[in-house]
Symmetry: C2
Subunit: 417 residues, 2 copies
């Protein structure tokens, strides 16, 4: 390992609050939990050791500032350290780790930037706990709808508001984490790709143009619960048997649309709740969650429409009611071409092959891009596996990411004379 | 309402620990919980008011004894008072209620039986909590496999052993609830039909010949969890999309077998667990629970075989593994023809139309029938709805059940000279 890789490895473990990365159950640091807080504290320790000024904002985001001139603009980098349940140790962590490593590289060179630099460790990026993602970066960019969210609950009935307050924050002031347009000049996030396009194209890094935001549907099928042993087949209204063909339909339609179109689309029936979900009762109610993504928003809409028509057909054919609820419908986000140009130029200088690509996953940068010129840099992760204990990014790729970020910071800030 | 109906209504409410029967969420008294215990206490109060001797056994079954001659045999009646989640107030309760009402009718007539009578309120009949049914009657009839069951957990990780002990019993002695063959002479259970055969045939009551015991399968499909946004359709191994056609297959095959055969069969995919079951992760693992019933055991086996073949085809076609686990495979139970004859004779005397029929649901009587001559009497329930808040049996039918049981007791015990 090079010195840089050794530094990355050590702090990768520290940010994951672990002595080794290879755990069968992966890492679980859900939004606004004690586990996320501990990872924030690890971030703060590393940043302080690099000589950065560390403070938290009203949404629980941790800011590590390198201030060289109070009059100068602020160039920001950042990502998050929370995870899904049994997730990996690189999703989010890779971004804050390489951003800190970029600072270290500049300091090791005695480079003093002409602008101020902030590394942001955003709170609560993953939607795993509350079904709501990127809470911290929404707050910073002024996109947090406090009234809409306060009562959203996790599976244990804890509301976001309660979680935020037990995290040591005040729900009333969470939106004060918002920064004015002038308070930042630009934002860059590094993230693991969570796919295999970089590898498939023989590239070293990915420079992202567009982020595909999802349409998320909740489908509720209402039949009639009854005893499995005493209800003849012809007298049932089994909500699960009735809605099951929709699971197949979503996959088939997504496959078909990928054959017909150049812009990729993905669609997944990713959640199910059965009521009452016991062995001797016919399912009376089923809730399915469907996640549809493409950078082409018309494709997403087209599939959502086909799903709705299919649900109506099921309703007509079977003794059940089907309700559709659109949980999320966000247009895709396109990143700053200027910033993409700078990243491509830096990659060239470092003799790296960079791939212009789109992101199928949402990231904190989506929110930041609504207010500031923003960029997203991908490094490969093994076999594209993510949100899984086997998620893995080689140290060499983390090191490449750190070097690209360091060179980008030089371009963006200029050296102080 | 007649006096008997009024008595039944009052004690129906008491056994359900309620002031009215019509609750949107029904009744929830899971196995070995405080709620089941409270219903047992209500049973005890009613029995004591009838002058019966009440005691609990080592499995938590409550026995209400009418002892008239310590040398005479014991004729037993009984059912249970636990429920599924959000179940009805008649499944189980109707049986203990009408048994107690039968005693009341005999006492009102100053009838003193020549044999002893016991009304048993069995513990933990429903499988809703632990996936294991009829625990109390298994213990009485010596069918409880203590070692096999001790570690079975409910959804909250509480084992049966822990639940039994927090119910105030000792797991070590639970099997001492077993009665010797000579300790009982016969057993009769009354239950709501949970179907509509009685009504469809214009009958008043059902006299059951055979009880269809289930084959229960657990199907586990193992794919690969991954990010819904970044994993292209062609690189997925989505366990839910892969196994979904099985849900449709089970229903189709059951329908087809009913067309081909005279003996009815029912099959239900009644449970599902998805892992991780979050919106932005492709399902990596799915567990389906399948319940198959018919009094013709070869039909059940045939469908289980077809399901296995179908799973193998899915495995061949898709990038997933499918494991089959047979949770339950019990042969159907046939009840005592002699006792059925007595019930038919009593029904005739009371000018009731009785229907000889089979039961699609399992009941405590299944276990009792392994050791003692046993019978099962059905009363209608509205639209066959059961295991549901809308479960309902008219007071008039409860009264008919009580009268049949009282007359049956006279036949079975003879009046003391």
């Amino acid at each position: 390992m090079t010195n840089l890789e050794e530094w990355l490895n050590r702090h990768l473990l520290e940010l994951n609050l672990t002595d080794e990365m290879d755990y069968e159950n992966g890492f679980t640091r859900l939004s606004y939990t004690e586990e996320e807080k501990q990872a924030h504290q690890a971030f703060s320790r590393i940043a302080e050791n690099l000589g950065l000024d560390v403070h938290s904002d009203q949404a629980g985001n941790v800011w590590a500032d390198w201030k060289t001139d109070t009059e100068a603009p602020v160039v920001a980098l950042g990502s998050h350290v929370d995870t899904v349940s049994s997730g990996g140790g690189y999703d989010g962590v890779a971004g804050v780790l390489t951003a800190l490593a970029a600072i270290k590289l500049l300091k090791d060179e005695d480079y003093t930037p002409h602008k101020n630099i902030s590394v942001i460790c955003f709170a609560s990026e993953e939607s795993a706990r509350f079904g709501v993602s990127t809470i911290g970066s929404k707050a910073v960019s002024g996109l947090l709808d406090k009234d809409d969210l306060a009562d959203v609950e996790d599976v244990e009935g804890v509301t976001i508001k309660e979680a935020v307050e037990s995290f040591g924050l005040s729900w009333d002031t969470i939106d004060q984490a918002e920064k004015g347009e002038k308070e930042l000049e630009s934002f860059l996030e590094l993230h693991i790709e969570q796919g295999t396009q970089i590898e498939n194209n023989g590239a070293d890094i990915g420079i992202v143009r567009g982020v595909a935001c999802p349409i998320r549907l909740q489908i509720t099928a209402e039949g009639m619960a009854n005893h499995t042993g005493t209800t003849p087949m012809h007298r049932r209204s089994d909500a699960f048997a009735a809605i099951a063909p929709l699971i197949t339909f979503v996959e088939e339609q997504a496959n078909q649309m990928n054959e017909e179109q150049d812009v990729p689309l993905v669609a997944t029936v990713s959640t199910v709740q059965l009521h009452p979900n016991v062995m001797n009762v016919i399912p009376g109610q089923v809730e399915l969650g469907i996640d549809i993504r493409s950078v082409d928003d018309t494709l997403k809409k087209e599939l959502a429409d086909r799903i709705e028509s299919f649900c109506r057909k099921i309703e007509d054919k079977r003794k059940i009611q089907v309700h559709l609820n659109t949980l999320v419908n966000n247009d895709s986000v396109f990143l700053d071409p200027n910033l993409q140009g700078k990243l491509a130029q830096v990659a060239d200088q470092l003799h790296l092959n960079s791939l212009e690509m789109d992101s199928g996953a949402g990231h904190d940068v989506m929110n930041m891009a609504e207010k500031w010129p923003s960029g997203l840099l991908f490094i490969p992760c093994e076999e594209g596996i993510s949100h899984h204990p086997k998620e893995y990014a080689p140290k060499a790729d983390l090191a490449i990411g750190a070097r690209v970020m360091a060179e980008y910071l030089k371009v963006e800030t200029g050296e102080k004379p």
